[in-house]
């Protein structure tokens, strides 16, 4: 068929691509966000290929080399070595993988738990709303780090448990955020119109309301990625997260305290890695907010 009609969805995809291009343009105009995005992509690449590019892959899994212990940065050991003679450069590279994957798992799980609950609470006001929100309040009444510490201590110290603890203490923030959004758009006419035309409630919730109120939550999630990296490192620093010999940044900084006077590089390089990743996620979150919520746009 030569004169085939263009499919509805083809045109739709073209339109979406146009919007994407516009957004990319906004990204590029906002240089700081764009730089942050590039660095984050770079960090992700490092996280994926860390075991390949690390000069001493065996050090990652606990191999020791005592004769080279606490050497300053040099050509062989770019970031120096630790007290067991392991190459810090390899460890920091591998730490990227641990921190990023931990943060993404925690945020994604928090998102998947928190958002549907918030939707349900906002949509069905009354008893269900009260029940969900009081539970949320209970979680929110503790500082997130403290709550995560208690849960991690209860579950026993390990990286997995630290991530579980973070998920448990993080989801209520999304629930509260999305519930507020849902309540504000619930009274809009199009929701009522969808109801009048016979749309089932779950479809109204997920198809009509969610796309209208998801952007603040996405911004919050991208900002949270930075916060979670930091909190995960804090838990490890306190001994409740990753255990030696896992090359986790917070754990490395904790062990480096003993050698700080003799070997400054031990604590500084993991710290810089953490600093860069947290900063970039925060910048990205701010940039996303400007794109998704034009009201906050600066002129």
């Amino acid at each position: 068929m030569l004169n085939r009609r263009t499919n509805y969805y083809e045109i739709l995809i073209k339109q979406k691509l146009k919007v994407l291009k516009e957004n990319l343009y906004l990204f590029k105009k906002n240089k700081l966000t764009f730089a942050a995005l590039i660095i984050i992509l770079f960090l992700f690449i490092i996280a994926i290929i860390a075991p390949i590019i690390a000069p001493f892959p065996s050090h990652i899994h606990g191999a020791v080399n005592p004769k080279d212990k606490l050497l300053p940065p040099s050509k062989t050991y770019l970031f120096g070595t630790d007290e067991l003679g392991r190459d810090l450069f390899s460890l920091v590279l591998y730490g990227t993988r641990i921190s990023l994957s931990g943060a993404i798992i925690a945020v994604a799980a928090g998102f998947l738990i928190g958002v549907p609950l918030g939707l349900i609470a906002g949509f069905y006001s009354g008893f269900i709303d009260e029940l969900i929100m009081r539970i949320v309040d209970m979680f929110l009444s503790f500082p997130p780090l403290l709550l995560a510490m208690v849960i991690a201590a209860f579950l026993g110290p390990s990286l997995q448990n630290a991530i579980i603890a973070l998920i448990i203490s993080w989801w209520p923030w999304y629930t509260r955020l999305i519930r507020g959004q849902i309540i504000s758009i619930k009274e809009r006419e199009f929701v009522r119109a969808a109801l009048a035309i016979g749309t089932p409630s779950w479809q109204i919730m997920f198809k009509h309301m969610l796309p209208n109120c998801i952007s603040p939550v996405i911004v919050q999630a991208s900002l949270d990625l930075g916060g979670i990296i930091l909190t995960l490192a804090s838990l490890s620093f306190l001994g409740l997260g990753a255990q030696a010999p896992t090359p986790e940044w917070g754990l490395m900084i904790n062990t480096s305290r003993t050698y700080f006077i003799k070997a400054w590089w031990y604590g500084v390089f993991p710290g810089i890695a953490m600093f860069i990743s947290v900063l970039c996620f925060n910048l990205l979150g701010d940039g996303l907010r400007e794109i998704l919520d034009p009201k906050t746009k600066k002129n």
Partner: protein, 267 residues
């Protein structure tokens, strides 16, 4: 066909902590199949509450239906289970709303919204749903139906949006259309167009229209019969001509006095 659609002794209260307020109190109201029935009343007289109670989409609390029956084809809509009323919404009774600016979901294109409804209610595949959507857009006489499908609501004018809303409302074969002030935020020429469209659709599809408005002139133009609603009660019912010529209730007379009688809106 007196038992096509009938409201009997309907009482709706708004209950808050401070007070219980009776907003709708209707003794009897019946619609004949195929007619346009106008309900006219000032704002706050309970028109929209009445309209929403028919499809049971009143926010409750604060609204509570205290007593009464809404009979539609022998079924009492107020006694149906949520699943059963779901089958009536859109498929048998449909509704268009006051404000065309906010009735469409801003994040989807017009086509997506029409097709969504069609696919959900008729279980068609994508291509058939698209054909059906195009047919509906042509039915409401929008020029350039093809391109309209890909537009977002904010790209359309108020009149165009209201036409789309009518298209969505009728896309699943509803036979009773509740029009809750469909021309409220539109200017006069667009109003005339929408009224004409509703009238034509009524003839073409043989639907029944319950037309709710605060504009007495409009009611006389479109409706066969009219009920005047005042403070939740029907104070007068009759054919348009009867009400226009000899109204008995002082409130109707007052309303008629306000409307410039000589003016004639041509559609």
């Amino acid at each position: 066909m007196s038992n096509y659609f009938e409201i009997k002794d309907l009482k709706i209260n708004f209950e808050t902590f401070e007070e219980i307020k009776n907003v709708v109190n209707i003794k009897k109201l019946n619609l004949v199949k195929g007619e346009t029935f106008g309900i006219v009343g000032e704002s706050g007289s309970g028109k929209s509450v009445l309209a929403m109670s028919i499809l049971r989409i009143l926010p409750s609390p604060p609204a509570f239906i205290k007593s009464g029956k809404i009979m539609f084809k022998g079924k009492n809509l107020l006694e149906l289970k949520e699943k059963e009323i779901q089958k009536i919404r859109g498929k048998e009774i449909s509704m268009i709303f006051q404000d065309p600016m906010s009735t469409l979901n801003p994040v989807f294109t017009v086509g997506q919204q029409i097709m969504n409804v069609i696919r959900h209610n008729k279980h068609l595949n994508k291509e058939d749903a698209e054909k059906e959507a195009l047919k509906m857009i042509k039915l409401v006489k929008l020029p350039d139906a093809k391109n309209t499908l890909y537009k977002y609501p904010n790209e359309l004018s108020g009149g165009q949006r209201q036409r789309i809303i009518i298209a969505i409302a009728l896309s699943c074969g509803a036979e009773l259309l509740i029009a809750d002030e469909p021309t409220r935020n539109l200017d006069v020429t667009i109003q005339a167009g929408i009224l004409k469209l509703i009238d034509e659709l009524k003839r073409e599809l043989g639907i029944t229209v319950l037309f709710i408005t605060n504009n007495l002139n409009l009611v006389f133009i479109v409706s066969n019969r009219v009920a005047v609603l005042y403070k939740g009660k029907i104070v007068e019912t009759g054919t348009s001509q009867e009400i226009k010529r000899q109204s008995n209730h002082p409130y109707t007379q007052k309303l008629l006095g306000i409307t410039s009688v000589g003016e004639k809106l041509v559609i």
